[in-house]
């Protein structure tokens, strides 16, 4: 009787699910202590009200963007600690030695590393930068749907919390980051690990999809009058391409995960081995999302590079029209290459050759972009600041990685390189240089706009060099290991294979990367410390796009008076013409803060948690919370308030004391 009640109340949850080995326990304790410390700190300094009003309930995309980036950085540290475990294990687990962690735990760490880095670091950085920059660049006061935007963010947080809860209660998927069935089916993965994987991605994925819709509408409908599509800054163009990919690709992920959840939770057979399940269907579906996902992450970073190169070369971006066409060529092509992730599945030569060639064709628009960036620098006056250094590293690393990509796009060569460490080296070179370096450049470039001071240049350079040396040292050995027959996700190998020195070299590379990360934090700390000697005005880099015309930091409504746009890089020419705006101010509508986004995300979190542990009453409660809150919110007709023209003028003048007298 009691046990029936307990199992109704708690599902499969029990005390046995707490960590049972020192490394997981250590991780779990840290994961519990960090939020606890944060709560204590906020309580002691009495900042709850401030936190609630200024951040948790905010609808301002600039603040939401900052929160995205904070979450992404924290998750980056989690992903990096996974890297440390992976590198230690592979450097030590040779021959008779079996390393520091068990095979099962190693596989969980590998899966968590991939999942966290893609979904919660790369996506987080991307949406953070998009939120902060896109409205400013297109002369908008806000995104199209501010409440939806906040909801996207909080769903992202809910997914992030769920994946981290897996470290404290239960376990995580030990299946690799894409959880191929039948390994990820109940028969071979009976614990809750895969369920955690499914539900944290399901929730975060819905958040991404909603954000995609939001930014498409924002870019298409909220551009300032006069800014025609072909006058938009390239970053906004890249985001538009990327968000179209989000809207077409993420529903595939949502459905695929749901079907896998049906298999695992309700005993269905979509992807099982046997009973009519088809594992090949899953592999196709997951990559029909997974390949566009790569471009979802890379395209906005390409946009960042376009801005950085033009600004620091002090020159118009070369080949604007070509750049736009290249983006859309990449968008379309990225949907017809997914099969190159499994040439080794035994498809016929026609199918393999078709997808191989389609894959290579993506190199054409990408090459065009590269040449256009190069010729933007050509005949420029290059200000060699850290964002430019990140760009140079990107060109070199991305080209090497891209060559490896073309090599693997040849099906017979893929037979020899698929799932080897060559592949791992390839995609890390693409994603780290094409995504992470891009957002590092973005953060350095746009930081002064939001905080009023520049980041320390010297420490930025040190961080850059540590990162670059570490990165090459960590991944060039993996190319060689791939040729030596080393496959991915190995927790142990024989000593006679001669792999160990290369794994150790890769580990040394990670030490350099860690130094780079430490230097980046030092850079932030020192820059804050010395902020008074490092002040940046509105336009520290002699920028070209509209965000640099705003006061620093920009007010919540961005533009007190909407800018006048007549050509590309309007602001650059306005500066030369010494244009001053003397139009009268107008009233501005601003969305009210709302805690309901957080409530929806809480409901989603408990829904996910309930599905993981089969706590059905909680699932019903979670779902009801989500549905009722959405209905409640749609009934509310007073979601905005108006700032009158005088108030706008007062704020604007206060923000720009020097120019007020003009």
């Amino acid at each position: 009787m009691i046990s029936t009640f307990a199992s109704f109340l708690l599902g499969k949850l029990s005390l046995n699910q707490l960590p049972n080995n020192p490394i997981t326990a250590g991780g779990a304790i840290i994961l519990v202590l960090i939020p606890l410390a944060a709560v204590i700190f906020i309580s002691v300094t009495r900042r709850w009200k401030w936190l609630y009003r200024e951040w948790l309930t905010t609808q301002d995309p600039k603040k939401i963007g900052k929160m995205y980036i904070i979450v992404a950085v924290l998750m980056g540290l989690r992903g990096l600690s996974d890297v440390i475990l992976i590198r230690l294990q592979q450097a030590l687990s040779v021959g008779h030695a079996h390393g520091i962690i068990s095979a099962s735990m190693f596989q969980q760490v590998v899966s968590a590393h991939g999942t966290i880095m893609i979904f919660f670091v790369a996506m987080g950085l991307m949406f953070g930068v998009i939120n902060m920059i896109v409205p400013l660049q297109i002369g908008a006061r806000d995104v199209a749907f501010p409440f939806l935007n906040a909801t996207s963010f909080w769903l992202f947080v809910a997914g992030m919390v769920l994946i981290n809860v897996s470290l404290v209660i239960g376990d995580f998927a030990a299946t690799g980051w894409l959880a191929y069935p039948p390994l990820s089916e109940l028969k071979y993965s009976p614990t809750v690990g895969v369920d955690y994987w499914i539900w944290s991605l399901e929730i975060a994925g819905v958040g991404s999809l909603l954000a995609g819709v939001n930014f498409i509408v924002t870019i298409l409908k909220k551009r300032v009058k006069g800014m025609k599509m072909m006058l938009m800054p390239l970053f906004s163009w890249s985001v538009l391409g990327s968000m179209f990919l989000v809207v077409f690709a993420f529903p595939i992920l949502t459905v695929t995960l749901t079907l896998l959840a049906f298999d695992r939770t309700f005993g269905m057979h979509f992807f099982t081995a046997g009973h009519g399940g088809n594992m090949m269907m899953y592999v196709n579906l997951i990559w029909a999302w997974g390949h566009p996902e790569v471009y979802i992450l890379v395209l906005p970073a390409f946009g960042v590079y376009s801005e950085v190169v033009a600004t620091y070369a002090r020159k118009k971006l070369f080949g604007y029209t070509s750049m736009v066409w290249a983006i859309w060529a990449i968008v379309i092509l990225s949907f017809i290459v997914w099969l190159h992730h499994f040439f080794t599945m035994g498809a016929g030569s026609d199918v393999n050759a078709f997808f191989g060639i389609m894959t290579m064709i993506i190199a054409v628009p990408t090459g065009v972009k590269l040449f256009n960036w190069l010729f933007t620098l050509y005949r420029g006056k290059i200000n060699m600041k850290t964002p430019v250094l990140w760009f140079i590293a990107f060109v070199v690393v991305f080209t090497i990685g891209g060559m490896a990509g073309v090599i693997m796009a040849v099906p017979p060569l893929d037979f020899q390189l698929h799932n080897s460490l060559f592949l791992i080296a390839h995609f890390h070179m693409m994603i780290v240089s094409g995504v992470l370096f891009g957002y590092f450049a973005a953060i350095t470039y746009w930081f002064p706009k939001f905080f009023g001071f520049k980041l320390n240049e010297r420490l930025g350079r040190y961080a850059f060099w540590s990162w670059l040396i570490g990165f090459l040292l960590a991944f060039v050995p993996l190319y060689i290991l791939g040729f030596m027959g080393a496959t991915r996700r190995l927790d142990h190998y024989s000593a006679s294979l001669g792999w160990q020195p290369l794994f150790i070299a890769a580990g040394v590379g990670v030490v350099f990367i860690i130094c780079g990360v430490v230097l980046q934090f030092m850079q932030l700390g020192v820059s804050i410390w010395q902020r008074n000697s490092n002040r940046a005005g509105r336009d520290p880099w002699d920028g070209r796009t509209l965000e640099w015309s705003l006061p620093t930091p920009p007010p919540s409504f961005n533009f007190a008076r909407l800018p006048i746009v007549t050509k590309r890089d309007s602001f650059w020419y306005d500066k030369q013409a010494q244009f001053t705006d003397s139009r009268p101010y107008e009233p501005i509508t601003i969305p009210k803060n709302s805690p309901l986004s957080m409530v929806i995300a809480c409901g989603a979190f408990f829904l996910g948690f309930a599905f993981v542990w089969h706590i059905w009453w909680l699932a019903v409660v979670g779902l009801l919370v989500v549905i009722v809150t959405i209905i409640w919110r749609s009934m509310d007709e007073h979601t905005e308030y108006e700032l009158d023209a005088d108030e706008v003028m007062r704020i604007d003048r206060a923000l720009t004391p020097k120019e007020a007298g003009l």
């Binding site: 095979a103 099962s104 596989q107 191929y180 069935p181 039948p182 390994l183 071979y188 081995a273 046997g274 009973h275 594992m279 090949m280 020159k315 118009k316 604007y320 070509s322 080794t344 599945m345 035994g346 030569s349 393999n352 060639i357 290579m360 064709i361 190199a363 090459g367 065009v368 590269l370 040449f371 256009n372 010729f375 620098l377 005949r379 006056k381 290059i382 060699m384 140079i392 080209t399 090497i400 060559m403 073309v406 090599i407 040849v410 099906p411 017979p412 060569l413 037979f415 020899q416 390189l417 698929h418 799932n419 080897s420 040729f483 030596m484 027959g485 991915r488 996700r489 927790d491 020195p501």
Partner: protein
């Protein structure tokens, strides 16, 4: 002077570092780059060809990048002229749509032909008979069944030199990938399905093979030896295994089926009739109860 010394020191360090690695790598086996069978050999040559073509475009790009950065750097006293409005050239842009397009067109033609030529399902020499070996990936070991020779082996596959081997592959476990890098590229093994792969060896010896797709806790132990021997030696090995090894009855298979890792090679005689087919059928039928295995 001091700066020059520092640079010299750095250059010497980098060269010594690379030389040390070169020496190390020349002493270890790099299977993909040291093929020992006709399939892997063709794949290696193809790799060199494609790599060469890519370098032909990438290296000039790197040189152009380095030159541009040097020449137009703000603090270069001999900086080239600054033309901030120069942002379009039909001729130039046409060129760099064309250069990668031509490169990719060439690589595509090579790819199309190579994909057919190196189709893993295609016999190496259709006129000569092939030795058939059935491969089953299990939790976490490889079972090799020789249907004509009436023997089976675990984690070791032996075959005669120069003879083309026709593998049929399936899985009685999660998906795995069968890979002997010195002899041929890999192919997936999937439950309820059959894939095929042809390969051959040019020299005698032991070659490392492994699974390239994660399949559970014992995944790292799914390493096996591919052993190429003279045909005389092969025949005597087959006879010996058939005479002295236990039978692979359905019962024995059920024993073997239990998950196990780091299984040393061992042999069986007389595998149960159509064992390979039964293993595939196990996942084809609606209920697991009505099946022999």
């Amino acid at each position: 002077m001091n700066k020059a010394k520092k640079r010299l020191g750095l250059a010497i360090f980098i060269i010594a570092f690379l030389v040390a690695w070169g020496v190390y790598l020349s002493r270890v086996s790099i299977p993909v780059l040291q093929p020992k069978g006709p399939v892997a050999d063709k794949e290696f040559r193809l790799l060199l060809l494609i790599f060469g073509l890519l370098c032909a475009v990438a290296i000039p790009v790197f040189i152009l990048l380095a030159y541009t950065l040097w020449r137009y750097r703000e603090d270069n006293p001999r900086r080239g002229s600054y033309v901030p409005e120069w942002a379009h050239s039909r001729w130039l842009e046409g060129t760099w749509w064309a250069i990668p397009a031509i490169l990719i067109a060439i690589v595509s033609i090579i790819t199309w032909n190579a994909t057919y030529a190196l189709n893993p399902y295609k016999p190496l020499d259709p006129k000569r008979p092939a030795l058939t070996i059935q491969v089953v990936s299990m939790d976490w070991k490889w079972l090799f069944i020789y249907p004509k020779q009436h023997i089976a082996s675990v984690n070791l596959v032996e075959f005669p030199l120069h003879e083309q081997i026709h593998f049929y592959l399936t899985s009685d476990a999660p998906m795995n990938s069968f890979w002997v890098p010195q002899l041929a590229g890999q192919i997936y093994t999937m439950a309820g399905m059959q894939t095929q792969l042809y390969m051959a060896a040019d020299i005698t010896g032991n070659f490392v093979g492994r699974s390239a797709n994660i399949s559970g806790v014992g995944f790292a132990s799914m390493q096996f030896t591919a052993k190429s021997v003279s045909s005389r030696e092969f025949n005597s090995w087959v006879d010996k295994v058939r005479m002295y090894s236990p039978k692979l009855s359905i019962l024995a298979y059920r024993q073997l089926e239990r998950p196990s890792s780091y299984v040393p090679p061992h042999y069986y005689s007389y595998p149960a009739k159509n064992l390979f087919g039964l293993i595939i059928d196990k996942y084809m039928l609606p209920s697991a109860h009505g099946v022999v295995i």
